[in-house]
């Protein structure tokens, strides 16, 4: 499977839009674009589990938030380097996933979902209650932009925007390589039939566990960017609300595909911000949109175009 012309064209148009965006729209929309990039990585990392491996995790925010807190602690301890935060945050995300995966993967199907959710809520509870360390639900404010050490100042919003776009595209591509690697093919085999994969000689448990850790690392990646973007981390970054939103991004955008997670992330970030600007009952409207999406496009909005082609 090579890169098709339509894909190349889509990528080119997207790159052009990304480049010109700060000159076309207000800073408000530029900041939304940053959020879209961050949540695209979050959704894509969750898609490694949900779309490719068939593991419906309901606790993905745990790795996002754990990395976020790690970033905040490091920053307040005086570590301002983005690269150090990146390594530490991804390691914390991956390590949390390594621990939780060990427990959650003992269960399957709906039980796996519930256990993955419960584990994430434990972390949420710790962040909420351990006030001396995390300041509870006040959260930890005052995290500034990191330094890159290459002479680029990330403090201006426009610089930060371009930085997030570039590094998110790199991370998104890395996730895509994982999905297209022999390992990624094996994950989809596991999604379709674990017993057949075992019979062929694959160590199914180890594959699923590795997928869990890789997904945790990339969720951590998005958590780091989020904290540097918002300058703030609080227990909701670990909460069920964010985990569910990640799943909804995949439902809306379509899982198991290249552009699905990014599309879903863009839709949800934009809809949520636009609708909440129009009405106080925005969560009701979002709810209706989710239900409609599940009923009409069970394989994601993008499946509409595929169906058109067939």
């Amino acid at each position: 499977m090579g890169i098709s012309k339509t894909r190349l064209l889509t990528a080119l148009i997207a790159a052009l839009v990304a480049l010109l965006l700060p000159f076309l729209v207000s800073t408000y929309y530029v900041s939304l674009a940053v959020q879209v990039c961050i949540f695209a990585i979050f959704a894509a990392s969750l898609d490694i589990l949900v779309g490719h491996t068939g593991l419906p995790s309901l606790g993905h925010a745990a790795y996002f938030g754990a990395a976020g807190y790690a970033t905040a602690f490091l920053y307040l301890a005086g570590v301002k380097s983005f690269w150090l935060a990146l390594v530490a945050g991804m390691a914390v995300g991956g390590a949390t996933a390594a621990l939780f995966g060990l427990l959650a993967m003992r269960a399957q199907g709906p039980y796996f979902m519930i256990i993955s959710m419960a584990l994430a809520q434990v972390l949420w509870g710790v962040a909420f209650k351990w006030r001396s360390l995390t300041r509870g639900d006040d959260g930890i404010p005052g995290i500034g932009r990191p330094s890159l050490g290459i002479g680029v100042d990330l403090r201006p919003d426009m610089h930060f925007y371009y930085f997030v776009v570039v590094i998110s595209i790199l991370a998104y591509m890395a996730i895509y390589v994982v999905a297209r690697s022999p390992f990624g093919y094996a994950l989809r085999g596991i999604r379709e039939s674990e017993s057949r994969m075992k019979a062929l000689g694959y160590n199914v448990w180890l594959y699923k566990y590795t997928a869990f850790i890789i997904a945790g690392c990339f969720a951590g990646f998005s958590g780091i960017l989020w904290v540097f973007y918002s300058g703030y981390v609080n227990p909701t970054d670990l909460g069920i609300d964010l985990s569910v939103r990640g799943l909804l991004m995949l439902i809306l955008g379509g899982s198991g595909s290249l552009f699905g997670p990014a599309t879903g992330a863009a839709l949800i970030v934009l809809l949520q911000n636009i609708i909440s600007g129009l009405t106080q009952r925005w969560s009701l409207v979002m709810g209706i949109i989710y239900v409609a999406a599940v009923m009409l496009f069970s394989e994601g909005i993008l499946s509409m175009f595929k169906r058109g082609k067939e």
Binding site: R180, F183, Y185, E192, Y202
Partner: protein
């Protein structure tokens, strides 16, 4: 060398003894059929050999090595491959990707996650060779679920072969096939390389007698009779079990 040897194999499900003191030995290169009425414990025996079930008592050896406590994938690494009674393929993946997963299983690259699969030419060319060998190349891009049942039964066997097994376990390869399809499946199995040891569960006696050079009859979990097809055909106990 013996490809497979089981000693006093027992498997209990609660109070039900599905496999009872089964001791069989299959020589390398042999074509063995396991027959018996419904509920005789044929598939349970396959599960015990391939590792999907662990025995209550007894041991399983593959190629002279005790594998009783090895996991499924570890046994597969020793050269055992199996098919399933109920078609067990990767339904949403294309035919190409189905076979590819079988080819990849035996390659060192199979756990690499930092390079796209398309850069591993060994895997893709071997997959291409297999699909062309069985005249399935034209259908490579078709999602497996869109292929006919007869084709899926054949792919069930081809996928098991893709790992280059030394011992192949076929669980009712002709299940649900029409008479014509069943005949072509029979000649397909008969045409497999002679160095592959085959153990075959079969409901259809004619198929079993045609493929096998030795037959084991299971009845209520234990071995009722064992011998060459001619001997089994004339065995009174077997006739009684089958014809009541």
């Amino acid at each position: 060398m013996k490809a497979l040897e089981t000693k006093d194999l027992c498997k209990n499900f609660g109070g039900l003894r599905a496999t009872s003191d089964v001791s069989i030995a299959v020589e390398e290169g042999e074509r063995r059929a396991i027959i018996g009425p419904n509920g005789a414990g044929k598939t349970t025996l396959f599960h015990l050999i391939s590792g999907f079930l662990l025995p209550t008592l007894g041991t399983v050896s593959l190629f002279g090595r005790d594998v009783t406590h090895l996991q499924i994938h570890q046994r597969a690494e020793l050269g055992i491959s199996r098919t399933f009674q109920v078609t067990n393929l990767f339904q949403k993946l294309t035919l190409f990707d189905n076979i590819l997963l079988g080819v990849q299983a035996t390659q060192r690259s199979h756990s690499c996650f930092w390079r796209p699969l398309s850069s591993f030419h060994d895997t893709t060319t071997e997959t291409e060779r297999i699909l062309k060998e069985w005249a399935l190349w034209d259908k490579r891009g078709v999602p497996l679920k869109n292929l006919s049942y007869g084709e899926q039964r054949q792919i069930e066997v081809i996928l098991a072969l893709a790992t280059h097994p030394r011992l192949l376990l076929l669980d009712e390869p002709t299940a649900g096939l029409s008479a014509a399809e069943s005949a072509s499946m029979t000649s397909f199995i008969k045409g497999l390389p002679p160095e592959i040891t085959i153990i075959l569960i079969e409901h259809d006696m004619d198929v079993a007698f045609e493929i096998a050079n030795k037959i084991t009859v299971l009845y209520f979990g234990s071995v009722l009779a064992e011998g060459p097809p001619g001997e089994i055909r004339g065995n009174e106990k077997v006739t009684e079990v089958y014809l009541g």
